[in-house]
């Protein structure tokens, strides 16, 4: 199968399957609560229902409000197009595409906040303010984590950085993926040590990424997607005034965002088997596990008090920074740099 075809299948599958993740999250929550729960495709049913509705717009709002859902969903679709969740390179892949991904997430946030402020409602202003607050802490955690991964993987692209954790097809059996340098030359001597370094950096980055995943997707313990009238409301209250087609765009965009950030976590941790079909199956299973984990977290944890949320995000940033420090000692491409890369 050609690379292009794989990339197209990867993109279309993601666009179709993303709402199912929400279904899995809700199903797990229902099981914990002793309910039967809604169908796995409920998010798709909701979108279809909303697309059939007529519209009511606030007199206060203008073109900014109408641009919000449209630009936000477009940015999310592009994010999905940038995500090589099956391991196949995407059509838009390039060295540095991870910065574009983060930029597109920021663009979606910008237009959502602007649309919320356009309503003139104090509720939506509150949500907008909190969204800006939390995401300004989540973004450094994400980008510093990416810098540490860029160092151990010796790569600047999402495909290179998120190339899975364990390469089962590698010569000599399973080992951590840590850039080409680890497989030969000086790296081979320190193979065990560098793998340990890479593994530690990867675990730190994965934890930071999972926290960012929860925060960006407005999940517990940061936000509660089930409510918009509590004093911790963030994301749900920002879209309070949207309805009909606009709300359908926003909800579909939210499920895409869940897919994108969840896909990053999975791509980082899932083993690569060498066969694309197996990789697809592994990645899908991994995404289901991440969604289930989200459901478990939501079922067994209470939402954090609002003032505690930044501490969680700063903890994520600290873990990313610690990972970067380890990666600095670990050297480029996972080589132990204590001898190789001191001061020139």
């Amino acid at each position: 199968m050609s690379e292009t075809l794989r990339a197209v299948i990867q993109l279309l599958a993601a666009l179709l399957l993303a709402p199912v993740l929400l279904g899995i999250v809700n199903r797990v929550k229902a099981v914990f609560a002793g309910r039967r729960g809604s169908p796995l495709l409920q998010a798709w049913y909701d979108v279809a229902k909303l697309l059939g509705k007529s519209a009511v717009y606030s007199r206060t709002t203008g073109w900014v409000f109408k641009a919000g859902p449209v630009v936000g969903l477009s940015a999310m679709i592009l994010c999905v197009a940038l995500l090589p969740w099956t391991g196949a390179p995407t059509l838009l892949a390039f060295d540095g595409d991870l910065v574009l991904l983060v930029g597109l997430l920021a663009l979606a946030r910008f237009v959502t906040i602007a649309a919320a402020l356009d309503t003139g409602s104090a509720f939506e202003g509150m949500g907008a303010s909190r969204e800006a607050w939390f995401s300004s802490l989540g973004e450094p955690a994400l980008l510093v984590g990416l810098a540490s991964l860029a160092r151990i993987r010796g790569s600047l692209s999402i495909a290179g950085v998120f190339a899975g954790s364990v390469d089962l097809a590698a010569p000599g059996g399973a080992r951590f993926v840590s850039g080409p340098a680890a497989f030969g030359g000086a790296g081979a001597v320190f193979g065990g040590a560098s793998s340990a370094f890479s593994g530690a950096v990867m675990i730190l980055a994965a934890v930071a990424l999972f926290i960012v995943f929860l925060a960006e997707n407005a999940r517990i313990p940061v936000d509660d997607p089930a409510t918009h009238l509590e004093l911790t409301m963030i994301h749900e209250v920002m879209v309070l005034d949207h309805g009909g087609v606009d709300l359908a765009y926003i909800q579909y965009g939210a499920s895409l965002k869940l897919w994108v950030l969840g896909g990053l976590v999975v791509s980082l941790l899932a083993p690569r088997t060498g066969s694309w079909y197996l990789d697809v199956a592994v990645s899908l299973a991994g995404l289901a596990v991440v969604a289930a984990a989200t459901g478990v977290v939501e079922s067994i944890m209470a939402r954090l008090r609002l003032v505690r949320v930044p501490q969680l995000l700063v903890a994520a940033l600290a873990m990313s920074a610690l990972g970067l420090c380890l990666a600095l000692v670990g050297g480029p491409g996972g080589q132990l740099a204590l001898t190789a890369g001191g001061t020139p």
Binding site: A55, V64, A93, L100, F110, L117, F123, L328
Partner: protein, 676 residues
Amino acid sequence: MIAVLLGTAALVVLFGLASLLLARAPGVSHAVGSVGIAAASLAGLAATISALVLGDASSITLPWNPVIGASFSIGFDPLTGFFLLPIFGLSAVCAVFGAGYLSHGYPGRGTGAHWLFYGLLVSSMALVVLARNGVLFLVAWEVMSLSSWQLVTFEHEREETRAAGLTYLVATQIGTAFLLVMFLFMGAPGAAGGTAGEAAFLDFSMLSAAGPAASAVFLLALIGFGTKAGIVPLHVWLPEAHPAAPSHVSALMSGVMIKTGIYGIVRVLMILGSPPPWWGWTLVLIGAVSGVMGVLFALAQHDIKRLLAYHSVENIGIICLGLGIGLLGRSYGSPTVALLGFAGGLLHVLNHALFKSLLFMGAGAASHAAGTREMDRLGGLARRMPLTALGFVIGAAAISGLPPLNGFVSELLVFLGAYHAAATGAAAQAAAAGVVAAALALIGGLAVACFTKAFGISFLGEPRTPAAAAAKEAGASMTVPVLLVAAACAAIGLLGFLAIDLMAPLAAAVSGTAVTDAAAVIAQAGPGLLKVAAAGAILVVLAAGLAAVRALLLSRRSVRRAGTWDCGYALPDARMQNPPPAAQYTSSSFAQPLISMFRFPLATHRRWSPIRERFPAEAEFESHTPDLFAQGVFRPAFAGIGGLLSRLRWLQHGRLQLYVLYVAATLLVLLVWKLS
């Protein structure tokens, strides 16, 4: 071609002078000043572009005063040409905007002197980047500082404007003092022999420094040029001067003039040659501190032009991060990192010039229409001034570094430099890259918060005052410049792959690497920027498609207007329909969580009246964020200096005879010293 550039620069001044001479006929004077300066600047822009395309490298040298090392020596190279682009281009745009702004904002007021100083500012900025002699450079630098000081104090009848002007004047003079010493460090008097026709000893080609002297020169340049550029803690004049000046002057100064400080740093780095690593580290740390502090202080402001002024500090920080990672790439011998860092930092100079002048013009039009710069008294302007709002939101998204606009392209290049250093460099270089990545990410996140606040509170929601409710769209002379610059922001964002072709040779020249290595950076970043452009185009198409789908779906259904759903809590307004304007989130409440989180550097003063009764009739809240460095460093320092100098006041008693005696005694001492 360089003669043409010099000619257009002179023409700009001549139109300003003509405007002053025609002051008897205010209408004619205003038209001659604005249109003439705009046309002459456009001619200068055309000459710059053709010189850049032709690869012009000509120079002119005329003898001046060899004893003090002066010659009238000017030259053109890619760096000069690159800085001339915003100087001429934005001067033209701001002059057109200023024509409308001044005639609406200050009716009946003579503008002849204003246009003369505007012309002087434009041509002195051009001369600063053209100059190839230290004395000529300093003269042009001083004319630039003094003419911009005159422009800042346009509303000189206001006390706070005069105070802001004085702060600016003192800051810029202190900066110049450091530059004077810097040139003396680099020039070697006597080396040139002093004969006419030979190079004078302060010609740039004669300047050099090595070892500790080079480091001293670097630090002097950093302080002297950094004061103009506005790096923390030398930025204190920016938030004073920019709000005081008319908006098109703020746009020109904040967008273009402070960049001459960056030009100076880059030019000195080119003269000094290969840098030790700590220079790059210094720039990275200065950039990180300036960037983060700038955006934090911006977030705490209520005055929209003060907010924008602090954002200039932030963007100078981003530029320094790019230059710093570039210098480190050069120190550690990785040309790709050097080229990416310099290309990103320098491209951000052009980008910031565009979106900052765009934002100042948009904010000027908005505050002019609503009669106040306080964001908490604006609101709802997007429906009343749609074109200005469109321009402002494009500028806001661009300055936040969002794709597909120009701010993203330059920040992406800096990020690529940092990630490249992180992925391949030695530990020390990768550590700096980590600092750059973390600082850029934090700046980016906070900038989104800051500009959703600036745009959202000022332009969206319900108007908070009757004046804001009565605002009207600005005239064509104000909206056309705004939209033109907005289009330039979008163009550079979508055509970033062309920008890298332009930047790579320039970055190669600046970083001292071979031009063939520039191919490396194009190979590194070019395909990626092509993909970024593709992503931008796809984004536009997708958004248009989704909007069309929505319009199609809604075309046969009812689309009603109603009041904002406020969860049943809404107090009706006078028309019993809309959310109450006073209950909206304000700029202070929007930023409050971040402000209180970063209360350590910000030290916001808050004052409120506690609620004592069950049904309080009224309440008060006031918050104010003074500049940490102005209040904590410079005010005590200047008070101390003033106290020391006042001890000498007994020398100054007003008796003329004794003053003459001082002069005579000084002459005698000098004579004895010289003879002995």
